[in-house]
Structures are given as structure tokens and as C-alpha cells.
Symmetry: C2
Subunit: 225 residues, 2 copies
């Protein structure tokens, strides 16, 4: 007989290391932890009420992602990116994301379009700047998801993690959010028209435009110091 019980796969539960990794990753991506901030193993271990062992495993994975830098016997710091590195990351995203959206729009479903429309609307009306990063990402991701390119999406996601905290800074500039809204509308329209080439070109412009205004902003910002 079939047991009537909503079971969860306990074998797939997260280890402490998984949970700590996710928490630290999010803190870095969201900007809660800033460039150059020190990560003390003991301090993190105490915060999560575990020993340093799982913390170290989480740190090893974060370093592999490029989010932190480890110096033997000295400790780990949140990586900081040079303007050149940031610029390269945006060009990387422009290349990949325009390719992915092209393939996605070619086969996009009506349901996915509805979902994207919804996120675009939420993004347009959201006033809390802390939500912008997440909503922006959800909008774009929705438009990519029918591409059937899981590896591409994973790589895009990692690249986004590495620029997330800088992107946020860019959106908070009022012109940043306004332009993002207009450009989202344009991309969405191209997707609705099933015009894959237009969607790809607009996505590319969207990313490179954000890059340019971010770089200009950071040049002034970093000059100050």
C-alpha cells in the first residue's frame, strides 16, 4: 500500500557548512559585508553556534567562487574588484545573457511571459531600494529560464554574485532605476513579440549601459579616497 504522508527528503538536508556558505554568500552579494571586510572563523563559528570546521568548509567554497580571498594564516577578506575587473564582468554578462535570452525567447511560453510581466510591474512600482536587486534578478531570470541552458544560467548566476554589491550601488542612483524600468519594458515587449534578436540586443545594451554608468560612478567614488 502507498503511505499517505508528505515526506521530505531528509537525505538532501543541508549540512552546517551549506547553511553557513549560503548565509555568507548572501551577506556578501547583498552588500551587508563590504569589500575588504575580514571574516574571522571563530566569530562566524560563534554566530552559528558550531565549531570552526564547517565554517572553514564554507570559506573554502566561497573562495572558489571568488567572493573572498584567503591568505594562509592571515584570514579571509571579502574580495574587492578593480574597475577593470568590474568592467570585464559586465562584458562577460552581456555576452552570455544576450545569447541566453535569444535562445529563450525563441521558445518562450505564455506562462513565462506572464511571470516576467508580473516581475517587471513589481520592479517598476517598488520603492524599497533593498528589493530592487532581487526583483531585477527575478525579472531577468524569468526571461532566461526557457532557454534550457542550465550550465549557462549557473555561470551567469555566479558572475552576478560577483558584481551584485556593485550593481546595487548603480541602481540606487536615480537615473539607474529609471533607465532600468524603461529598458525592462523594452526587453519585455521584444519577448512578447517573440523577437529574439531584439531581446538579445536590448539585453546587451541594458547590461553595458549599467556598466558604463556604474564605472563612472565608481571612478568618482574611488577618487575621493
Amino acid at each position: 500500500m502507498k503511505l499517505k504522508l508528505n515526506a521530505v527528503n531528509l537525505g538532501a538536508t543541508s549540512s552546517s557548512a551549506d547553511i553557513i556558505f549560503e548565509a555568507l554568500r548572501e551577506a556578501i552579494v547583498e552588500g551587508t559585508m563590504q569589500d575588504g571586510d575580514l571574516l574571522r572563523q571563530d566569530q562566524i563559528a560563534t554566530m552559528f553556534n558550531v565549531s570552526r570546521i564547517p565554517v572553514r568548509e564554507a570559506l573554502a567554497r566561497l573562495e572558489e567562487q571568488g567572493l573572498i580571498t584567503n591568505q594562509r594564516y592571515k584570514g579571509a577578506v571579502v574580495s574587492s574588484l578593480s574597475l577593470d575587473e568590474i568592467s570585464e564582468l559586465f562584458e562577460f554578462r552581456a555576452l552570455l545573457e544576450s545569447d541566453v535570452i535569444r535562445r529563450s525567447v525563441e521558445r518562450i511560453s505564455d506562462d513565462t511571459l506572464e511571470e516576467a510581466k508580473d516581475y517587471a510591474a513589481q520592479f517598476a512600482r517598488e520603492t524599497d531600494s533593498n528589493q530592487w536587486g532581487r526583483l531585477n534578478q527575478q525579472f531577468h531570470y524569468t526571461l532566461y529560464k526557457d532557454s534550457n541552458r542550465p550550465y549557462h544560467l549557473q555561470v551567469i548566476s555566479k558572475a552576478l554574485d560577483n558584481v551584485g554589491r556593485y550593481l546595487r550601488a548603480q541602481l540606487v542612483l536615480t537615473s539607474g532605476i529609471d533607465r532600468a524600468r524603461r529598458q525592462h519594458a523594452g526587453i519585455l515587449e521584444a519577448a512578447i513579440d517573440r523577437d529574439a534578436e531584439a531581446a538579445a540586443a536590448l539585453t546587451r545594451d541594458h547590461i553595458l549601459g549599467a556598466s558604463q554608468s556604474l564605472i563612472e560612478f565608481l571612478e568618482v567614488e574611488r577618487q575621493k579616497k
Copy 2:
């Protein structure tokens, strides 16, 4: 006064975890360890004469790279890729590598061209199939290195790690190595002519061609089981 001594940066020395990570990575990429092989922490620890702690950190990093898969309380196995996943990885490489070689050839130095020529010659005359993978990679890398795109190269490198063991299988097919030699000559010629577009197009064909013949090979191979 300046001390006359060739010092090495001891602060940058590798931890045990680094060394174990590299060794395992190479074993997987080179195909010494096969798809589905189990990685026992204790066994690896004994081999390297350390405790399981650094082994676990190496495994955490390998999993982050996608080279192994970890199941809580069960252990780690070398990841195996479906034909779809392999196919996607080659398309990913085609996209990125053609972009990178385009930028690289635009500004390629004579020294770099000489180096590439040398690797192409070595690859053409090499009879030991164990060397093909390495020489193939060195040839391509040389042609990419003037691109000034370190992040792109790093991502390409990781993608290559994930298909390395399959690529090797493809090259060993006689038609694989022959075609690779011809195509390398073509790409090299385009680079010498500073024809970035041609180099990009040929690189793309080279990668997608290898993909197609590999997939055909694996379809037969996997059918057998």
C-alpha cells in the same frame, strides 16, 4: 641595503588542502578517475598522509567546481555528464572562446604568435595520446592570452575541466586528431593574418565540430550499456 637573496613568498605557499585539491582535480580532468568513481575521505587522507580535515576542504572546492557530487553521509563521486550537458558545455565554450580569440587576435603580439606556432607544431607531431590534451589546451590558451580578459579565461578553464575527460576520448578517435591538426593550422593562419573574425569563426567551428563527433561517439558507446 638590499639583501641579495632570491626569496620566495612563503606566505603564498599552498596548504595541504590546496595540494590535495589540485591533485584530485587533475586526476579527474585527465581521466585517471572515471565518472562515478567514489572518493573516500579516509583513503585520500591516508594517501596524502594527512587527516580528513584538509581532504574535506578540497572536496568542498571540487564540488563547487562541479567536478564531484557530494551526498550527505554517503560520500562524493566523480560527476558524470549527460549528453545534453556535454553538448551544452561545448556550445558554452564555442560562445566564449570565439569571443575571446577575436579580442585576442586584434592585439596579438609576434611573440605570442611564435609561441602558438610552436605548440601547433608540437601537437601535430606528438604521437603519445596522453600528451594531446595538454598540448591542445596550450595551443588554444596561447591564442587567447593577449585578450586581456582574465575572468573570461578563468571561466573557459573551468568549463574545459568539466569536459576534459570526454574531450580526450574524442581526440583519440583518429579522425578527431587529424581534424584537430588541420583546424589548428587554419586558426593559426587566421591569427597570423590578424583576421580576428576568421579566427573566431574557425574556433567556433573547431569546438562545435569536436562536440558533434564526440556526441556521436558517446551515443554509440553509451548504447552498449
